[in-house]
């Protein structure tokens, strides 16, 4: 276990963008027609967003940053930390965060780097940003965290396990230090079981190995073995009961896995939102994207939510975070 608290930093805003092109699992020719309804029922996924060949993850990040900064009324000079979380950079170097920093014309006072992380990436990124902001010698320091992938880049069009699940999207999250730098605003539990490294992988030496391959049964096993424990340990660390968080927002893996986890932790169904049906599994963007889809229908009680990412690695992380954003919007198509 890697248990930690973060102080002062809170999410100020969340926006997400998705490509406009949509694939419908009900019409997916690689799945026999008789099996499509069962597939949609089991995964919970009907529609998936697919980026054009020309679109790069940096383009999605840039569109989401523009939207975020415009709605928060943040100017570029105020961004102290900029981190991009992705596993689908269009080129290995320089980092997407440095490239975007240049393209956006930001001044040099910004700390920039990328995190190579998938389904657990939002929580890892949030913890990293929170810790960095608290360490900066600046009052009300600000950060932008971008999360997302163009997973379709690694998808074998004939792969019946991968193609019906993954989808493309990006989210930008604005995070800001509050006036009280000693206030606990997040509890985190970050873990890894590298014995699961082969359950999802891509990028071998041969062309065919560049595609993402996923062992669905092993992903199910690692998820059920670790994720409920990870969440329960976090709640215990924070000295909270399972009834405390207003919401438990899980990485949107698929409905079967997520519902199995929910039942193991005994979380009421109304506290566990989904965005799978319309957006599929968008890797590190799933948690902010899901929050955007449901936040305007949500009535906060304690003002704390639990967020849990898990997957490729096998990597997992949960956060119990104080959540009262100024903006939290549904995704827009670009």
């Amino acid at each position: 276990m890697a248990l930690a608290v973060t102080k002062g930093a809170q999410i100020a805003g969340i926006v997400s963008v998705v490509p406009s092109f949509t694939e419908d699992n009900a019409e997916l020719s690689i799945i026999p027609e008789m099996e499509r309804a069962a597939l949609i029922s089991l995964t919970g996924i009907r529609y998936r967003k697919i980026a054009s060949e020309e679109t790069k993850i940096g383009d999605l990040f840039k569109a989401s940053i523009d939207r975020l900064m415009s709605h928060l009324n943040w100017n570029a000079d105020s961004i102290d930390v900029f981190i991009c979380v992705t596993q689908s950079p269009d080129k290995p170097l320089p980092s997407i965060s440095c490239r975007l920093h240049g393209e956006l014309g930001w001044k040099p006072n910004t700390l920039c780097f990328d995190i190579n992380s998938g389904c657990s990436g939002f929580v890892y990124g949030l913890f990293t940003v929170n810790a960095l902001l608290a360490g900066l010698n600046k009052k009300n320091a600000r950060a932008i965290l971008c999360c997302g992938d163009i997973s379709s880049r690694f998808t074998d069009p004939s792969d019946r396990a991968v193609r019906p699940v993954f989808s493309d999207a990006a989210s930008a999250i604005g995070i800001e230090m509050g006036d009280d730098e000693d206030e606990i605003t997040g509890y985190f539990n970050l873990e890894t079981d590298g014995s699961g490294k082969d359950a999802i992988q891509a990028g071998g030496a041969k062309d065919a190995d560049m595609y993402m391959r996923m062992n669905g049964i092993d992903i199910f096993n690692y998820s059920l073995k670790h994720v409920p424990h990870n969440v329960n340990e976090l709640l215990s660390f924070a000295q909270k009961e399972v009834g405390f968080p207003d919401l438990f927002v899980f990485h949107q893996a698929n409905k079967l896995i997520n519902e199995s986890i929910r039942k193991k932790i005994s979380i009421p169904v109304e506290k566990v939102p989904y965005s799978l049906y319309d957006y599929g599994n968008t890797a590190s963007a799933t948690i902010p994207l899901t929050l955007g889809t449901i936040w305007n229908q949500h009535a906060p009680k304690t003002g704390w939510i639990a967020v849990t990412g898990f997957g490729v690695g096998f990597s997992m992380a949960s956060g119990l975070i104080k959540f009262n954003p100024k903006i939290c919007f549904p995704p827009v198509e670009i």
Partner: protein, 85 residues
């Protein structure tokens, strides 16, 4: 909870989950030959076993099994619950 440790109960459970007539199944039935067996149904079957028994069956475990009886034997061996270690 269904008592899946009982062989007859496990056969009925398997028939229900794979949507076949229970009279078509025995402990010696090779599950890959069941007409409804697919990667999708395999995942569903594994998840239902976990729901009822707390036993996790990996892809490697399943690959080492040939018959319904082999899977049942595995469940009996592991029915003390899930260990993270």
């Amino acid at each position: 909870m269904i008592d899946l440790l009982h062989p007859d109960h496990f056969l009925r459970f398997t028939a229900t989950e794979l949507q076949v007539n229970p009279t078509q199944l025995s402990a010696d039935t090779e599950f890959r030959n069941i007409i409804t067996w697919s990667s999708l149904n395999a995942l569903l079957f594994i998840s239902r076993i976990n729901e009822e028994t707390n036993v996790l069956i990996s892809a490697a475990d399943l690959a080492a099994c040939k018959t319904i009886g082999d899977i049942h034997h595995l469940i009996i061996q592991r029915s003390n619950g899930v260990s993270r270690n």
